[in-house]
């Protein structure tokens, strides 16, 4: 077995352990929340007997260790149980939402990179000058804004005032089929994607700048310059490629944020993804959905970390996997 294959195998085993721990923590944290899912159904008509029956329907009357055992057993079979508030299999509920989140998170990652890399490089060129300061201050400020507020402002301006993009949703019920459907989906994607991207710029720009500034002081950059290599080439080829390694790490780590950061964005934009699902399930104490959704998030983060590690090798041939 090659060093790389061994490495992947070892990392995969670690990943399984990580996911098991994440699943366990999720299970117990949810049980630590005060109240229970049935309290959501409280009503002047609710009697304690009906309440007890509802708890029993969802297996919530059993002792916690038994609930936990059942949860692990079902999870091993890929079964996350039944949503308490939606009364549908959690697998289906998540399968309905996941494609939308992947579309939104994926496209906003691309947009974020397309904006943040040029901006980051610009700040290096303009280090210490006004434009550098403005870019840094602006991207950090954008990241500190309250997403629901930004989202409503953006919808009001681009949706209601200019009428360029629809207000909320992922598709129009009357949006047609085929190509017109594709166009409809893209039109609905633009605003949430934009909000998610601009509020996420800060860390990417700052990190790229820091790591570029560091790399620019390396000997090989000085050598490059001394050889008379054009400054543009020094920055883009010599320095940038080396600065990318820590940058890729950050991108990988922040992917989890991108998906979880979509909770507010998706909710305000009425976008039918995992984020909105998590928001509503938290309110309703829908344990099974939350367990499923958080496990999906854990899987995403673990998977992307693995991919990130493999990308290092492509970026820097000196990195050798295995012992």
């Amino acid at each position: 077995m090659s060093g790389k294959a061994q490495y992947i195998l070892r990392r995969s085993l670690q990943s399984v352990l990580t996911i098991f721990i994440a699943a366990t923590i999720t299970f117990f944290i949810l049980r630590l929340l005060p109240g229970d899912p049935v309290s959501i159904f409280a009503d002047p008509m609710m009697t304690p007997e009906i309440r007890q029956k509802l708890l029993a329907d969802f297996g919530l009357d059993r002792p916690i260790p038994i609930q936990y055992g059942k949860y692990l057993y079902q999870m091993a079979q890929g079964n996350f149980g039944v949503s308490i508030s939606q009364r549908a299999p959690v697998d289906d509920v998540i399968a309905d939402a996941l494609p939308w989140t992947l579309l939104l998170a994926g496209s906003s990652l691309v947009v974020t990179l397309l904006i943040s890399i040029p901006l980051g490089l610009l700040t290096v060129y303009r280090q210490g000058r006004v434009s550098d300061v403005i870019i840094r201050a602006a991207t950090v400020t954008l990241g500190a804004l309250f997403i629901p507020w930004v989202a409503l402002m953006v919808m009001n301006f681009f949706g209601r005032e200019l009428n360029w993009f629809p207000i909320g949703g992922a598709t129009d019920p009357e949006g047609g089929e085929g190509w017109s459907k594709v166009v409809d989906v893209l039109k609905h994607l633009v605003l949430p994607c934009l909000v998610l991207a601009i509020t996420n710029l800060g860390p990417y720009v700052l990190f790229l700048r820091t790591s570029m500034v560091e790399v620019m002081q390396e000997d090989y950059v000085r050598t490059g310059r001394a050889k008379g290599v054009a400054e543009r080439r020094v920055v883009l080829i010599h320095a940038f490629r080396n600065a990318l390694i820590p940058f890729v790490t950050v991108v990988g780590l922040r992917l989890g944020f991108l998906v979880s950061g979509a909770v507010l964005t998706e909710t305000v934009f009425a976008y039918p993804g995992i984020g909105r699902l998590i928001f509503r399930s938290v309110q309703q104490h829908d344990y099974p959905v939350l367990q499923g959704a958080f496990l999906m998030l854990a899987l995403t983060v673990v998977l992307f970390n693995l991919i990130t590690d493999l990308v290092y090798g492509a970026l820097d041939p000196r990195i050798i996997y295995g012992s």
Binding site: G35, D43, P44, P148, G168, A270
Partner: protein
């Protein structure tokens, strides 16, 4: 027909709108369910059913078009387990019930042709109409009604099952007769069962292995609309059944299609409405957006009062001071309800006297007057009962046998609801002026729920009920001592023999008029003994675009402008 989830408002407050900015959580979630049954009980009960209106299609009415509404997230379209108002708006158009109501709250027969209660109240008989067909062509019969109610009793799907608790057996002696035999008479039973339970097709549901988790993606109904598309978490599309000619309407709907788009954030919904993307907001717009919408001539805003109410529950069972009726009476005189209504709700609310809302005209006793807002009189009553400010602290001291310290009562409420915070601040100011120290205790709503209902660890609890459709049942479940159990709705533990006896005798009674008279009398005692401090009922602002007309607004109801009757009657405004 109406399912409901009246949630206590403290929970409502944990809603999305509460955690995001400027939301009006109550607005969304208090809606919870219900509907027809509520309106059903707002008017005196009819012994004779109103006549079916003749079906005369008006040639001047513009037919066709797609009517779009914005609603909160749908929970389930399985009518047995569905638990929110928005689900009900849709399900009521797909599945018929035994009875329905028109805009004047006349009880109209729907699938039932007539109903009758025996003199002893133990036998309730429904006669069904012939000719109703399920979408697949199977006739709708008494066996479907029996099947539906039997399954409800067997499975105890939701709190609604409580309505069927006094039923001993259900029989269908022939295809068009259903007989409910009771173990205890309940005068309101026939109305409860006619309006709360949608009839389900037996031939479909008897083969379903687990009706609790069945998602019912392709419902087979017998209503004026059929479900054609359901994009989960996005929208539901219903199509009018152009072959529909059943009573009480006797013709198909005018509109071609209905689309319900879901918005988890009410602010986005309002923006979409203002932009013309959707034609109506059947669950109401928040107080802060109402003025902008009212000013726009394109929109019509319909005020619609909730049947629920907000209150402060005193922990009578556990707190010796609150157990003293004089203290409660004094505190009742210390609440400035006008300020609450005008300042917190900008007039979009009404004052409560007892727990029976004035909205429920058939039940509300108008002769019971509220305690006057009179801090001096309240203070005097406290002094007469041994609560005097002996140490000049500004707060009255409790009698020596209780330690003699300042009278201090913690006021707990859900932290994530802006309205509750304001109301709590007003109460604190009022009561402290009277000499009662009121520390405010803002809590996460679920934690508070646990503390109040199970641990009984509270002194004063500010909360609300979303819907109270039947005050007789409400008094029984909320104030009868037999219901003071962990987790139950009886929060205060009030134990007054006269009050309890009257509640019991009123609720289990064969005669509807006697039940209503009983509720009138109960309110007199309610006023006297102050089991809770009833504060106000919220009002919702339902909005629609004037491109459409023909709405039949159900008064005091939560189906409001999107009821069954509205949806079969709306049509485009000729331009």
């Amino acid at each position: 027909m109406a399912s409901s989830s009246d949630r206590p408002i403290n929970l409502l407050h944990s809603s999305l709108q509460a955690t995001m900015r400027r939301r009006d959580a109550m607005r969304w979630l208090t809606f919870a369910g219900g509907g027809a049954s509520i309106a059903a009980l707002t008017l005196p009960p009819y012994s004779v059913l109103a006549q079916t209106p003749a079906a005369t299609p008006d040639p001047n009415i513009q037919q066709g078009g797609t009517f779009q509404m914005g609603i909160a997230d749908i929970s389930s379209l399985n009518p047995f387990v569905s638990n929110s108002q928005q689900d009900s708006l849709i399900l009521n158009l797909l599945y018929p019930a035994l009875g329905t109501l028109d805009k004047d709250s006349n009880r109209l027969p729907y699938v039932a042709e007539s109903w009758e209660t025996s003199a002893d109240g133990l036998t309730n008989t429904f006669k069904l109409r012939r000719g109703f067909l399920w979408e697949d062509g199977t006739p709708l019969t008494a066996h479907d009604v029996k099947f539906t109610c039997d399954l409800e009793i067997e499975q105890k799907f939701t709190f609604k099952t409580a309505i069927l608790a006094p039923v001993a057996s259900i029989e269908a002696p022939d295809d068009y007769t259903v007989v409910f035999t009771m173990s205890q008479p309940v005068a309101t039973f026939i109305y409860d069962v006619a309006f709360w339970f949608r009839i389900m097709p037996k031939h479909i549901w008897e083969t379903i292995e687990d009706p609790k988790t069945y998602t019912n993606d392709q419902p087979i109904g017998a209503g004026p609309f059929r479900l054609t598309r359901w994009e989960k978490t996005q929208f539901v599309e219903l199509e009018a059944r152009k072959d529909y000619n059943y009573p009480p309407i006797g013709r198909p709907p005018y509109v071609d299609k209905l689309i319900y788009r879901t918005y988890p954030d009410v602010n986005t919904l309002v923006l979409a409405f203002q932009n013309g993307d959707i034609d109506a907001v059947p669950q109401g717009v928040p107080v802060d957006s109402v003025d902008a919408i009212k000013q726009d001539p394109a929109f019509e805003v319909v005020p619609n009062a909730s049947t629920g109410y907000n209150y402060v529950a005193p922990n009578i069972a556990e707190n010796p001071h609150l157990a003293n009726v004089k203290v409660r009476q004094a505190m009742a005189m210390g609440i400035d309800k006008d300020v609450i209504v005008q300042f917190v709700f900008k007039g979009n609310a009404g004052k409560m006297t007892t727990v029976v809302s004035p909205v429920l005209t058939a039940w509300h006793n108008p002769d019971v007057e509220d305690w006057p807002f009179d801090i001096e009189a309240g203070r005097q009553l406290l002094e007469e009962s041994g609560y005097t400010d002996t140490d000049d602290s500004g707060f009255v001291n409790v009698p020596e046998e209780h330690g003699g310290g300042d009278l201090e009562l913690r006021l707990s409420f859900a932290a994530n609801e802006p309205a509750s915070q304001k109301v709590a601040a007003i109460l604190k100011e009022n009561w402290e002026k009277m000499g009662v120290s009121i520390p405010l205790d803002a809590q996460e709503s679920n934690a508070l729920y646990q503390r109040v209902r199970f641990d009984r660890d509270y002194e004063l609890y500010l909360a609300g009920w979303g819907i109270v459709d039947n005050p007789s049942r409400h008094y029984y479940s909320t104030f009868h001592p037999s219901q003071y159990n962990p987790g139950s709705n009886n929060l205060t533990g009030i134990d007054n023999d006269e009050f309890a006896a009257l509640i019991e005798e009123t609720h289990f009674n064969a005669d509807l008029e006697a039940t209503q008279e009983g509720v009138f009398k109960i309110q007199e005692i309610d006023h006297e003994i102050v089991p809770v401090f009833a504060l106000y009922y919220p009002e919702f602002n339902l909005a629609y675009n004037r491109r459409w007309q023909g709405f039949q607004v159900l008064p005091g109801s939560l189906l409001g402008i999107a009821s069954w009757h509205s949806m079969v009657n709306i049509h485009q405004t000729a331009s």
